[in-house]
Subunit: 436 residues, 2 copies
Amino acid sequence: MNNLLLFGAGRSSLYLIEYLQKWCVANLCALLICDKDISYAKNNIQNQEGLTFTELDIFDQAKVEALVKDSRMVISLLPAALHIHIAKLCLEHNKNLGTASYISDEMKALHQEAKDIGLIFLNECGLDPGIDHMSAMQMMDEIKDEGGVINSFESYCGGLVTNDSDGDNPWKYKFSWNPRNVVLAGAGAPAQFLHNNELKMVPYHQLFKHIETFEIDGAGIFEAYANRDSLKYMGLYNLEQVASMKRGTFRKGGYATAWQVIVELGLTDDSTPMHLKVGTTLSQWLAAYLPDGHGDLKSEVKAITHCSDAEIEKLDWLGLFGNDTLPMNDGTSAQILEEILKPKWHLMPTDKDLIVMLHKIGYIQNGMQQWRSVHMTLEGVSETHTAMAKTVGLPLAIACKLILEHKIEARGVLAPVNSEFYTPILKELEMFGIQF
Amino acid sequence: MNNLLLFGAGRSSLYLIEYLQKWCVANLCALLICDKDISYAKNNIQNQEGLTFTELDIFDQAKVEALVKDSRMVISLLPAALHIHIAKLCLEHNKNLGTASYISDEMKALHQEAKDIGLIFLNECGLDPGIDHMSAMQMMDEIKDEGGVINSFESYCGGLVTNDSDGDNPWKYKFSWNPRNVVLAGAGAPAQFLHNNELKMVPYHQLFKHIETFEIDGAGIFEAYANRDSLKYMGLYNLEQVASMKRGTFRKGGYATAWQVIVELGLTDDSTPMHLKVGTTLSQWLAAYLPDGHGDLKSEVKAITHCSDAEIEKLDWLGLFGNDTLPMNDGTSAQILEEILKPKWHLMPTDKDLIVMLHKIGYIQNGMQQWRSVHMTLEGVSETHTAMAKTVGLPLAIACKLILEHKIEARGVLAPVNSEFYTPILKELEMFGIQF
């Protein structure tokens, strides 16, 4: 009953572990860290006082249940689809739960039951979702307190790398997050948002063409493409009456128009497994997506997608026109593309990642249209102590401390959109350099 | 035990009913016709000797089971997803089954069990799939018998209307088949085919751009876009070694490039329900898919899709730039589009539909590359007695007769690719004017 229990010890776990480790040491309990492979966390945390590492199959129901039963609170950094199994055990054994993932419909369905028992199932308490909710709600609550009526909400976030870390990579992007999610960003449904009281739908195959540009003081110029469904945040944020509502993702200049070419060609298809001969080259794989696919592939790509030399250069840098053999022969094109990108967009030991977040709020005050923008940028320290791991892990770690110290009154399945979460968490994040 | 049992009495049922009615009368049994709404069949069949019409909820398991149990053989023209329920009852009560639909994975899974009991579950015995299989297999078996080695297979089919029936419709297309399938044609996965030993993948948002043109003697010029997965037919047709394998769909000139604009804009999205205000106009709905969506929408569509005036004219004829209110406010864009198209592409009482099918086979004979093409065209008689209903219904009806008369030896889950099916069926179809 004295263990704090963490499932998932991957790239986003280090800061969370290090923060909660201090709390555990001070409060004479152990932090039990479980994953099918705990080597990443074990190798990258130097002081291991108060930590117990357990290698565990998360589908070993009996073991997982015994651990949950014996814990003080449970935190899950597992892939989002696995949270629900943990949540059901928490319900059964009367434990609070924290995750950094979006609230799934299955999780949402547990709300009343968790609330009735008096449990807290906190979700969406990382970076995006997480810090975005908290900083936006704090900003909007301030505007409302000053008598403003909000009529426009825009929020953007990007997990990028610093300019010094770009190297010769013309995409100016490296993976600080799940590569598969980057490859499939936006796939499956059109992006939806509201602009001046008009609904806007952007089909996936047009998504990276319709970008907006933002300059952020001291950080540079960023392009934003629209995130999936911005409309559903109108309810969560109490913004049912706004004329504009948009959430988006930042990339550095040139990424989106080049990724648009990849999408238009069809190279992100995840529906159809291919079975390619061993020895198939990248350009042969590309040629399958070109009606002709012979002769000058660059010219054919330009003709089909109406792209410019700048985009061709980025595809060329990935080796798509070359004769290297594919890293994978059986799989969807999205899977093949992920394997091509992984070594190309790999964060090097000296690289530093970069988080950029921007909120732009419009409101009526004293009969006048007003605008307020805030932004946050944060650089990583190293390949392992990334800004991504820090901004995903610390909010959840601080929230867990608040829950453990009985400072949260709300019950049920929650996101951190109320001040009992955002005020203390944002305040403490400032001490870690995470500041708007 | 003496009834012949038909589930599904919609647009494709008339010829099948009329054919099997004669057989039933001659063989002293009844043809029992069941659907949730039997008015279409009842109103359009004049001589009803030997026919019994039963209105029935297909999900009323007890009633359906009693009918199956008491039948001589079962035919299903229900939506394809419902066949499996009927098939399981047929298995339980030892009845043969006929459908015109593609063999689903669930249906395929019943093969061994059906075979062991000695049952025939015949599928894919309509037009496409159906007549295409049979005519292609007959043609290829002839080529093989003459010593040819097939190295290229192409097959195309279209359900169209005669030139006289085009009227002022610039699309030169009307619905003679399920409108939803026409709206969603090709959606969800890239088309795959083999061209000169090279795999070709065509993403949905490019599908109607990559067309081939064919001239068919006496019938005119047709454009073909690639069907979903042509590769899976290599196994069914024993064509594992061919260099080219492609199946496609015919449209009249101009349709595909205009439909491409609809797809590129995102108007066929079926993933995201929209909830539009009552009174929303067609042009407002269109504008949601345009980044600007104000001013001259035609110019914006041209700029985004690089289309020409000919495509704009076709969209305009559908009313997409106009101020008519939407026929539906809650639904996906694919559903809304279907409701817009239904009255525009409705087959009028004097209209005649047109079936066009073409096979083009390449083979090596005496060391030389040879080519052989055959085609079939068929015009409908009226709005109800369509060429579509005839070519879907008659092959299945004739096949059922063969099964009822114990002329088929194969057992299990089958498609009509062997000569015991195709020889007698194609021969009898000729008497109905269906001839290659």
